[in-house]
């Protein structure tokens, strides 16, 4: 076991002790319902209520947003969120439900929002009282995000919005949406602007949220339709026509490459949680008969499981190496690999688990004999959501080739 506390500053050490003490006393305990693999797949009110209560408690204890300014509901600390995250992971907590709020909306609002918006929005975002969702993709704007057509027409100091957003995870729970739209049809990039929009308040009055069903058969994301929704100009982030730049901030944080660590809890391992890890596949293999022995004795499966373990270890080590300037060649080289590596690793790990499971791999959630309750085929299918969403793997490779290696733009 590695001990992350080595080399904490005095402030960090004190904060770590606080986190540890609080967590020892306030772990939320075993969830009352089965939780999905990630917050993006929360489906029921029961799941949401449990997770929202957990985030609220952690926020009240100072474990959420601690690196944000106190004026906006933060803790006013520096380089401490990382420590809270480490301790929550070690304490095997459930995850936070407001994943888009914490990971994308909060830093974007902080960097581009008015003082008033920051003060009003961030505290309720941190506490989980307001869940957030993201309105970027459209049916015609996927990899080519800048081609969004959702349009806001100016009427005095109001904007009237019409359009169609898709793949909006959590929209059915969300009070607020970060929304990339077009305010000028004449310019592709400069015609974009960026708003925060109170969608829950407008449901049925200009906003319709409809669930989309995933290939897994689960719901979890939505399409959101805007019909003449009126929004105040004060909900705009940054200047008119600067939407693309603001969106780039959001995406930077989405890729884990921003300048603030996202508050993140997790690590809960229980009968109701499923982990897509090499260790989980090894455990499956040790429970699965193959030929005259166990799948864990099969040399080819062993080789593939170890390959996954190696990739996992390296991905974990990237976090450490990214902070040692002498051992990196380009500051974005490791951060920009994060999403690509994590998503393809998860996909390959799940695929391997199916091969380990053999013919029983086809048994699904409702089958009493399904290995791991059918979570592996679910994880495998959901992995395509990850290699597609938030910049497909192909787009990620373009970004790496162009921004890090300096190769000519492909489009």
């Amino acid at each position: 076991m590695t001990h992350p506390e080595r080399r904490d500053s005095a402030e960090q050490a004190e904060y770590r002790a606080h986190c540890r003490d609080w967590l020892a006393a306030h772990h939320p305990g075993e969830p009352p319902v089965r939780l999905p693999t990630s917050a993006l797949e929360i489906m029921t009110d029961q799941q949401m209520d449990y997770l929202r209560a957990w985030q609220g408690a952690a926020y009240a204890a100072g474990l959420v947003g601690c690196d944000y300014p106190e004026a906006f509901g933060g803790g006013g600390r520096s380089d401490c969120q990382r420590i809270a995250n480490e301790e929550m992971l070690a304490a095997r907590t459930p995850y936070f439900p407001n994943i888009i709020g914490l990971g994308m909306a909060a830093p974007t609002v902080l960097h581009h929002g008015s003082e008033e918006l920051k003060a009003r929005l961030l505290p309720r975002l941190f506490s989980g009282e307001d869940i957030w969702c993201q309105g970027f993709s459209e049916p015609g704007a996927g990899s080519d995000l800048a081609s969004v057509q959702t349009f806001a027409e100016r009427r005095g100091d109001k904007w009237v919005i019409n359009g169609h957003k898709v793949w909006t995870s959590l929209a059915h729970f969300a009070e607020w949406m970060i929304l990339l739209l077009r305010t000028d049809k004449g310019h592709k990039y400069e015609g974009l602007s960026y708003f925060v929009v109170p969608i829950a308040a407008a449901l049925g009055r200009g906003v319709t949220v409809r669930p989309l069903i995933k290939m897994t058969g689960e719901t979890g994301f939505n399409e959101v339709l805007f019909e003449d929704l009126e929004v105040d100009d004060s909900y705009r982030l940054d200047e008119l026509g600067k939407g693309w730049q603001v969106a780039m901030t959001t995406l930077l944080f989405e890729r884990g490459a921003g300048d603030l660590v996202t508050p993140r809890s997790g690590g809960l391992k229980s009968s109701s949680a499923h982990t897509t890890s090499a260790r989980a596949v090894m455990d499956l293999a040790q429970r699965t008969a193959r030929g005259k022995g166990l799948a864990s004795e099969d040399p080819l499966l062993r080789d593939r499981m170890v390959r996954q373990a190696i990739r996992e270890e390296a991905l974990k080590e990237h976090q450490r190496r990214a902070r040692v300037p002498a051992l990196i060649d380009h500051p974005m080289r490791l951060p920009l690999q994060n999403k690509l590596l994590a998503s393809e690793l998860a996909q390959d790990t799940a695929a391997l688990a199916l091969d380990v499971a053999g013919p029983a791999a086809g048994l699904y959630l409702g089958d009493e004999h399904a290995p791991a309750g059918g979570q592996w085929p679910l994880a495998y299918m959901n992995s395509y959501g990850i290699t597609i969403a938030a910049g497909t793997s192909e787009v990620q490779r373009n970004i790496l080739g162009e921004r890090v290696l300096g190769l000519a733009k492909s489009k």
Binding site: G142, M215, G217, T392, E394
Partner: protein, 375 residues
């Protein structure tokens, strides 16, 4: 023996394949298939049986169950290459009907000599059948299924299209350590069909329990006969995967031609183009091997096992690869329930691990090619 230059794929085989493609195109276009198998779905439930028996009846009327049946049992005794052509088209349509299982059962019965004639006659007459041979580990061999005095007891796993078939060909252990093949009915006394909740929407699968079920013992050593028929089972299943993969390729190519991003069709981008080319290359590898294997079933007994293993090992890899790329290259829309690619993705993931996976089959090929074990 020798292999004919054209695989023995003669005019009537071509006509059958064309007719099948037309039939599925008319009777089961993919939007109809989606409506049939993908409505009112509960991911945590056990699926009800979703298919259209009327289409199956039409296939029977077209004589497709009698294709592989010998002439003396009332069949057409078409060569396996012709049957593979039909199954390739069924795979391309992701057919939710027991054609593959019935043809596989036919293949196994053909190894049984005269004792199987009446079973084959039933199939030629349009009865749907499936093999009931796998234990909980997915292998033929020691499990809980036993036969004694013409009665079956115990359970078998992974029975394909169990809910759609009325006859079962059952591999059961006998008292003296021998194995027998038994012919029985889905509605015979003591049969309980426990439907599995499977991912694939175009098939059903079940655990089948027997309790003092009366069954007819057919001649021969069951395990040995099963082994003899494996090449046919593998080859036909591989043909299904090749057909499904071709649908995945063509559908994704069409999408890449139509969908524009950055003012270009997706297919302009080499990241997409080359993935699709690699899928095509994989399909062609499998397809050549499938027809080579089918031709060996007809003409070259000494290489039938090796070539069928190659076809299945290749097709299993192709099925997985084509499935992944079909979803990935469709982007967000490919990840939705309404997009048809999910139907084929799930069918392929199901098929590729049936009757042994690619690695298992390559290990057996190694025994033939490296250790020079007799095939």
């Amino acid at each position: 023996m020798t292999q004919p230059r054209n695989y023995g794929f003669e005019e009537e085989a071509g006509m059958l394949k064309d007719a099948a493609r037309r039939f599925f195109g008319e009777r089961l276009p993919v939007d109809r298939l989606h409506g049939l198998v993908a409505t009112d779905y509960d991911p945590e439930g056990v699926a009800p049986l979703r298919w259209d028996p009327a289409i199956w009846d039409e296939m029977v009327d077209l004589g497709w169950t009698s294709l592989a049946v010998p002439e003396d049992a009332g069949g057409l005794a078409m060569p396996w290459v012709a049957v593979a052509g039909l199954v390739e088209e069924a795979g391309r349509a992701a057919l939710p009907a027991p054609l593959l299982t019935t043809l596989q059962t036919t293949a196994l019965l053909r190894h049984l000599g005269p004792s199987a004639t009446s079973a084959l006659e039933e199939i030629a007459g349009g009865v749907a059948a499936t093999v009931v041979c796998l234990n909980a580990g997915g292998c033929p061999g020691p499990g809980s299924l036993r036969a004694s005095d013409g009665r079956l007891d115990g359970e078998a796993w992974f029975v394909q299209d169990a809910g759609k078939c009325s006859r079962f060909l059952v591999l059961a252990a006998e008292e003296d350590g021998a194995w027998g093949l038994y012919w029985t009915s889905a509605d015979a006394a003591g049969v309980t069909i426990h439907s599995d909740a499977i991912v694939d929407l175009t098939r059903d699968q079940a655990r089948v329990q027997f309790s003092a079920t009366p069954a007819e013992r057919l001649a021969g050593d069951g395990l040995q006969l099963w082994r003899a028929a494996e090449p046919e089972l593998w080859t036909l299943l591989s043909a299904d995967m090749v057909g499904a993969a071709e649908w995945q390729l063509q559908t994704t190519v069409e999408y890449a031609q139509q969908r524009k991003q950055f003012d270009r069709p997706l297919g302009f981008f080499q990241a997409v183009k080359h993935q699709l080319v690699d899928v095509m290359v994989a399909i062609d590898e499998s397809k050549s091997l499938v027809y080579s294997a089918a031709c060996a079933l007809d003409h070259e007994p000494e290489r039938r096992r090796e070539l069928a293993l190659m076809a299945k090992a290749s097709a299993s890899e192709t099925a997985g690869f084509a499935s992944g790329r079909s979803v990935q290259c469709h982007g967000g829309i490919g990840f939705t329930w309404e997009c048809y690619v999910q139907l084929y993705f799930k069918r392929q993931e199901h098929s590729r691990r049936l009757f042994g996976d690619a690695a298992t089959h390559r290990a057996e090929i190694a025994r033939i090619l490296i250790d020079r074990d007799a095939a």
